[in-house]
Amino acid sequence: MKVDRRTVLKGTAAVAATSAFGMPAIARAQSNKWVFAGSSPLTGPFAQAGTTALKDLLDWVEMTNDMGGIAGKPVELVHEDSGYDPAKSLANFKKAMSADDKPIFYSGDSTGFMKLVAPELQRTPVICGGTSFASDLANAQTHPYQYIAGPTYQSMFDILLKHVKDNGGTKVAFVYSDTEFGRDPIEHGKATAAALGLQVVHEEVTKPAGAEVQTHVAQLRRADPEYVILHGYVTGVWPEIIATARAFKMETQFLGTFWGMEKVIADGVTAKAGPVLDGYAGVLPYRYFYEAKDSPSYSQFFAFKKQKYGDKFPGYVVTWSLQPMFSHELVKKSIEDTVAADKEVNATNLLAALDNIKNWDSGGYMGQPVSVVNRSVPQGRVYRYGADNKLFLPISDWIVT
């Protein structure tokens, strides 16, 4: 008998369906599906990231259901557009929580939403994750129903500053956007730098888009830092700053955080402006998708995509998708643990299960076993971009903060 991917999936589904009869009584008594809801920026400034991530998430759900769902029940994904407006996301949340099939998990699309929804979660509790790495959210006392699917921005700064220290750096500068996102880790970063004996020689605050890059780079050049950490950008500003600095013959090492680490953006800049990003490095909490050989989860998703799309699948999944996929993996694990403990699948029990995730093998999303600490997963690795091979490749071990 030929054993292909479909056969394996069908077999797994059959085992899962059979095991559903043996699932704990409380789980059997609940709804016959898991509803996951969320908001995505399908229009507005982050539409490119939002639409790509949603399509990958729909595939992740399809693959999960093909494999028998979660604890024997299928997943239904309900997503609505927010236009990256926290108020619209909140309206979407209200709509989801007013539906007959209430979600057991809600995925937000901005830090703003995560903060706006906090009082609402007290009244209608549901476990809530999302795209935000905001440090404020990693606090079960102030945000009891929320979690971060990775390290906080402060942890990312810790990882980068440790990398600077390990590489003999002494002078560092911070360049960040004048947004909540940009300002988040700055004070903490200064404290960490001081503790590590690093000197923060300059801080440069820019607009989040359309910044006067030359003026900012001139200031940076005067400060002459060995390392510059760029933070608070997604698709714009950071490449222009690096390109302008290279034009000014600055040899500073530029470093970035999660949202400035997407290969598609770096490749686009390289195609248009040449190898200006060569050597740019930064922290990523997850493996890049092309490291699938080290990740059974990625390999499985790769096979699913290849089966579904054939040659139309380019073989790469953007980091913007890996983050929500990992977020959903954490919820999946929490549901499985809750069902296994024969407890009702509700917000309180799911959060307890989430908090109890220790040394979990995430299937290779992350390099170290995953432990949830303060509602976050504080680990990451430093990658460097090569303009010749157009890949971000690791230059550090996995660092747990």
Binding site: L42, T43, E80, P86, A91, S98, K115, L116, R123
Partner: protein, 347 residues
């Protein structure tokens, strides 16, 4: 030509509800609003509450822009002032909503008065730019005065309480916010039957002429800013008690533009204009989302195309209203009731 509008007494001429359909229509609306929380789900109640808050805010803009002719792009930021004033004073004083809300209204009126000072020297596009600058200044202060506003981290406040019951559910908040919004709209309707309201209209039509007939421009322009800002403050206060968490980004320029668009679509210089405008900007996007959502079962990834289509259709609707009914939805409404009132002799 308007016909069938004969009035034999001053009382008839001054009446708020001038015909039986309007009277009964208003009564029916009140009944519908009263029973809504008992039948609708939380999301519908939330949307109607949001319509009420927007109505108050846009009514303030209507006083300033529609009736007095002073175009403001800072109204969203003033709503933010009202919201933050509510949260800050509620947290500082620990006072109940009926104490905090008037403080927030007066505070916002005072802030609006300060930002209205340029209107004494400039008007038209120049004044619009000045209000735009005011918007940026207000948001900058809210973002950076972290000791008071908590800046980017956002600020929260305790829910309003009535007889010791915290108003946390959508229906409870609706019960507080919607009646206040109705009173605010009725107050605005009355305002334009007074000397003050007529002075505003005179300034809008020709400020030099208004001055010649005895309208004190300085006083009334500043009064318009103060009143418009007071409404913004009230809307902000209701907003704060509805959301219970505030972020500076909620009150940026886009909100001011939404208010202005709502006023144009709803019909400026008409009491019902802000109501229709608020209904339009809050409910139409949700309706379009629902309508396009019907296609999702056909293909889950179709949302990639329906989400932008939703935005485009919404934009086209706004443009369509401006082209085909520049007087706004309120004008269509008025024509409809006039038709009913005169039937079977309607023209």
């Amino acid at each position: 030509m308007i016909i069938g509008d004969y009035k034999a007494t001053y009382a008839a001429d001054e009446a708020i509800f001038r015909s039986w359909p309007v009277r009964y229509g208003f009564a029916a609306l009140l009944i519908a609003l009263a029973v809504l929380p008992f039948g609708a789900n939380g999301f519908i109640i939330f949307l109607v509450t949001q319509v009420a808050i927007y109505t108050v805010a846009i009514t303030g803009l209507n006083i300033l822009t529609g009736y007095t002719g002073l175009i403001s792009l800072g109204h969203g930021a003033l709503v933010g002032v009202g919201a933050y004033a509510t949260a800050v004073f509620a947290n500082w004083l620990g006072a109940p909503w009926w104490v905090v809300m008037p403080i927030a209204v007066v505070f916002t009126a005072a802030v609006g008065l300060v930002f209205g000072l340029p209107s004494l020297r400039i008007r038209g596009l120049y004044l619009t730019i000045a209000t735009l600058a005011a918007s940026f200044i207000i948001i900058f202060i809210i973002e950076h005065w972290t000791e008071v506003t908590r800046g980017d981290s956002g600020i929260t406040l305790a829910p309003a309480t009535i007889f010791g019951t915290p108003l946390v559910s959508d229906a409870q908040k609706y019960g507080l916010i919607v009646p206040i919004a109705i009173l605010a709209v009725l107050f605005a309707q009355n305002l334009f039957r007074t000397r003050v309201g007529r002075a505003f209209i005179a300034i809008r039509d020709a400020d030099y002429s208004a001055e010649i007939i005895g309208v004190a421009l300085t006083r009334y322009k500043l009064l318009a800013f103060a009143l418009g800002s007071a409404y913004a403050g009230l809307a902000g206060s209701l907003w704060a008690y509805n959301f219970l968490a505030l972020l500076p980004t909620q009150f940026e320029l886009q909100l001011s533009i939404v208010f202005l668009a709502a006023l144009v679509v709803g019909g400026n210089a008409r009491t019902l204009g802000p109501v229709f405008g608020a209904v339009f900007v809050v409910l139409i996007p949700e309706f379009l989302k629902w309508a396009f959502g019907l296609l999702t079962p056909l293909n889950p990834t179709i949302v990639e195309y329906t989400a932008p289509a939703n935005t485009i259709v919404y934009g086209l609707l706004i443009i369509g209203f401006m082209i085909f009914e520049p007087m706004g939805l309120a004008a269509i409404w008025t024509r409809f009731w006039r038709f009913i009132n005169l039937w079977p002799f309607s023209p």
